[in-house]
Amino acid sequence: MVRWIPGDGEEEKALLAELGLSSIEELFRDVPAAARMSRMGLGAPLEEPALVAAVDRILSKNQTLGSFDAFLGCGLYDRYVPAVVDGILQRSEFYTAYTPYQPEASQGVLQTLFEFQSLWVELTDMEVANASLYDGATALGEAMLMARRLAPGHRFLVPSNLFWERRSVLENYTPPGDCQLVEVPVDSGTGRLDLEFIAREARNDCFGVLVEYPDSYGIVEEGLLDLRRAIGDTPLVVSTDPLALTLLEPPGAWGADIVVGEGQGFGISPSFGGPLLGLIASRHRSLRMLPGRIVGATTDVEGRRAFTLTLQAREQHIRRSRATSNICTNQTLMSLAFLAYATALGPKGLARLAGDLTEKAHRLASALARVPGLAAPLYDAPFLWEFVLGTGRWDPREFLEAMERRGVLAGVWPEDPRAGRPSLAYNGVLVAAGERTDDEAIERYRKAAEAVVNPAPPPEEP
């Protein structure tokens, strides 16, 4: 058996003797007999070598992204993480610690969180950030609830092309009763968000407007930059991608009230979708409405710089039912991954990566545009490393399956799989370029797509 419980039984005897007890069972005499459990029905213990072998046997049934030509994204990306980042994450002082309730014993975690907040403020050009939320989708939910604390009204405007998972999470964060999600139409021909609809509706009983930048089709909508004027004082919530902000005019510069995002692409492996990192930033004026932990700089009694959790009066452990959020445990270690990754790449490295990925996606789109029957990109609009590939008369799922048989994970069909839900406006898949999308991979995608979409005619019957 693994030695995660100290002693060989002798220790237990000594501890029991001190208590004047003869068996451990006496410590459970307060559990009523009718509530007792006889057996859980679990297996026998495993020694470490057998344990590792058992886990590896199970994991061997997975195929890694590296064993395909993979073009999957939808907010979660496969990017190289420099070794130094994992070295930092493996410092046990970081990964085994708890929330820094005792600041004097936790300056390491606190300073990294302060640096993380500072970095997210810098990327978004916002004013304050918290120490993390669970993921990009729940950050949307928290942002909506925060907007509701900032403004009157009962409606929240949401793009109709929001990826269905995010939409579903948002529905589950919508307060029951007097709060309603209102869909902003997206033109099925151009893929563009109806900004006039937003301008018309935002001041009509709305407590907030959500836009994505880039959106769930990968489109960077320049009209968003003029939205502030159009919507007056209604809180503007912008969901974005941290790497995109190395290229794009940050939402803080065009009047966002709350900026959220998914931080996974910065130093966090896909790991089948978790752990991820929810990012949120806002303004000084709305600071007290921000959910989650916040780290501030202060001094110790000798005037030395120090960091501590602050504004805890917003939080559940003090404010209880009147807290800004119920969040307690957050994603601190992922904030550290985000920070360490950004530090390891540096400003040039990040901007170069964003530029490279954008170039690769555009080269991929150009290559696929040459395949008759496909539309790449489906919409004529600016994009970065992700775009909609129109699959024409092909069912997107059949297209993806046929491509998989050729070793290409050709994209994500971002459709709500639950029956009876509204379907997407387009027939296509979302395709993302990654660092591994080199010219050879692009050519393999193109050839496979060619073979799938335009199969050679079968030989004529004799």
Binding site: L42, E48, L59, E122, G296, T298, V301, I318, S321, L384
Partner: protein, 506 residues
């Protein structure tokens, strides 16, 4: 024991080297309309790899972790995080798998998640499990949304109230409020639920009663079956906050106790690392009443194949991106497999034994409220120290000087000047005895020494009042007020006498 923490005056990253504005490459930006191109670059320093490594290594040396320090933080279950789990969770066969790749190519992960769900179902006695839960509070919130949906479908749409004991974790009322319920606290009697008060409060408006057992006083609620009976007779859902499950593995479980739903904190009981505050790892385990409402997708086994099924029409939908904190689920799976039936039972036995041992010894020096038999954690009251002008906060800070982490303090609030101590099963008798000795030294110290604590850490006592007043929350804020490196604050306010803020559990 003599202990000194490293005291690096480690600058902020922006102070290590003058930041440069990241300038986007021209080809990429040329693809974008002029209006959306970033005008001012973000300011971020260009460091060498060694500078990066050294910065973070130095910061890590100014932080307690489980591998450096005994960490008896009550309600947080700070047990050893097995190293083998760290190795396994980094295998490419999990790290390099995308949630949206075809399910046929991720059968190993689905098998692992399915087996973990089955195991957690057995451990809790609530066989329907979702792992799409980020952390404990998230599980509470999701379960309460499911509860609302359940009542709506069963003629209970008017049930708008959640009851909870006055010892409940702060997340309980916060989750209930977020889910649209009003909350009502049930007073405790001798540290446990006052059954008569609960009965009086239950009504056709009650949606759920939230309870943790053992509770936050470390006491087993012996009337749990009567509680379950009353809650069910009132038509309400009985909710189990699984923060304290480490006390009862293999002895009882929420299902046996009559709960309808339980969230588990796998980052507590199942040893996934706390990460300095997260990520957590949650699971939601439910019985018959709520099973149709669990989030989708659910993992379904068809023959030897595993499938992500969305075919649950009453499901509340999604509550998180993808399928949960899978990298952490693997660590929980490792913990469950390594211990097996026998080991998990020993986990709780040893945790409860450690707790009673330390309670017994420390109870001779500070008052212990309520009954003597505790589970995995126990409360002490620091109230007698007040005669000497000493607060529990001072004692906690003084313990840090001994190289041990402080217990949870000022929670639960029903005990004056409370300390909540949880020594998990991975601590040896030697560690417990050393903690006892350290605690005694602290108790016997002069008030002056206690007020001055901590002295041996990277910083002396931190001025939290000033932090809340100045609100310097980023490098930009420091820059704005001219407080970058090299400009120490000339007028620190002294917080040694400041009113301590409650330091919470969880």
């Amino acid at each position: 024991m003599s202990f000194r923490q490293a005291r690096w005056e480690e600058p902020l990253l922006w102070e290590v080297r003058e930041p440069k504005a990241g300038t986007p490459s021209s080809e990429a930006t040329a693809r974008l309309p002029e209006a959306v191109r970033r005008r001012k670059g973000f300011r971020w320093p260009e460091l060498s790899e060694l500078e990066v490594a050294r910065h973070f290594t130095r910061l890590s040396q100014m932080n307690f972790g489980i591998e450096t320090s005994f960490y008896p933080l009550g309600s947080c279950t700070m047990k050893y995080n097995p190293r083998v789990s760290e190795v396994l969770a980094r295998r490419p066969e999990i790290a390099d798998v995308h949630p949206y790749q075809p399910e046929g190519t991720a059968q190993g992960l689905l098998a692992m998640l399915w087996e973990l769900e089955q195991g957690l179902g057995r451990i809790t006695g609530l066989p329907n499990v979702s792992l799409q839960i980020a952390a404990g509070a998230h599980g509470e919130y999701v379960a309460l949304r499911m509860t609302a949906a359940y009542h709506r479908d069963h003629g209970g749409g008017a049930r708008d109230q959640v009851l909870l004991p006055d010892t409940a974790h702060g997340t309980n009322p916060a989750s209930a409020a977020m889910a649209g319920f009003t909350t009502r606290e049930i007073p405790s009697k001798n540290g446990c639920v006052d059954l008569a008060a609960l009965e009086a409060a239950l009504s056709e408006r009650t949606a759920a009663f939230m309870l943790t057992n053992p509770n936050t006083a470390g006491l087993f609620e012996e009337q749990i079956l009567e509680i379950a009976d009353r809650v069910h007779k009132a038509g309400a859902i009985l909710y189990y906050d699984g923060a304290n499950l480490n006390a009862v593995l293999g002895k009882t479980g929420p299902g046996k106790m009559g709960f309808d739903v339980a969230h588990l904190n796998l980052h507590k009981t199942f040893a996934t690392p706390h990460g300095g505050g997260g990520p957590g790892d949650g699971a939601l385990c439910v019985g018959e009443r709520l099973k149709d409402y669990l989030p989708v997708p659910r993992i379904v086994k068809n023959g030897r194949k595993f499938h992500l099924s969305y075919d649950f029409p009453r499901s509340i939908g999604k509550v998180k991106t993808a399928y949960g904190n899978v990298g952490l689920d693997l660590r929980a799976f490792v913990f469950m497999k390594a211990h097996g039936e026998e080991g998990l039972r020993r986990v709780s036995e040893r945790a409860v034994l450690n707790s009673n041992y330390l309670a017994h010894r420390l109870g001779k020096h500070l008052p212990r409220p309520f009954k003597p038999l505790v589970k995995h954690e126990f409360l002490l009251s620091g109230a007698p120290l007040r005669e000497r002008g000493v607060r529990t906060l001072d004692l906690a800070k003084r313990l840090l000087d001994e190289g041990v982490h402080a217990p949870t303090i000022y929670f639960p609030s029903l005990v004056e000047e409370s300390l909540m101590i949880e020594p998990p099963e991975t601590e040896s008798k030697r560690d417990l005895d050393q903690f006892f000795e350290a605690f005694l030294r602290a108790l016997q110290d002069s008030p002056e020494r206690l007020h001055a604590a901590p002295m041996n850490l990277a910083v002396r006592r931190v001025d939290e009042v000033k932090a809340a007043r100045d609100l310097l929350l980023s490098w930009r804020d420091l820059e704005r007020v001219g407080k970058l490196a090299g400009s120490p604050d000339p007028s620190p306010s002294v917080s040694g006498t400041a009113k301590p803020s409650p330091l919470p559990a969880k």
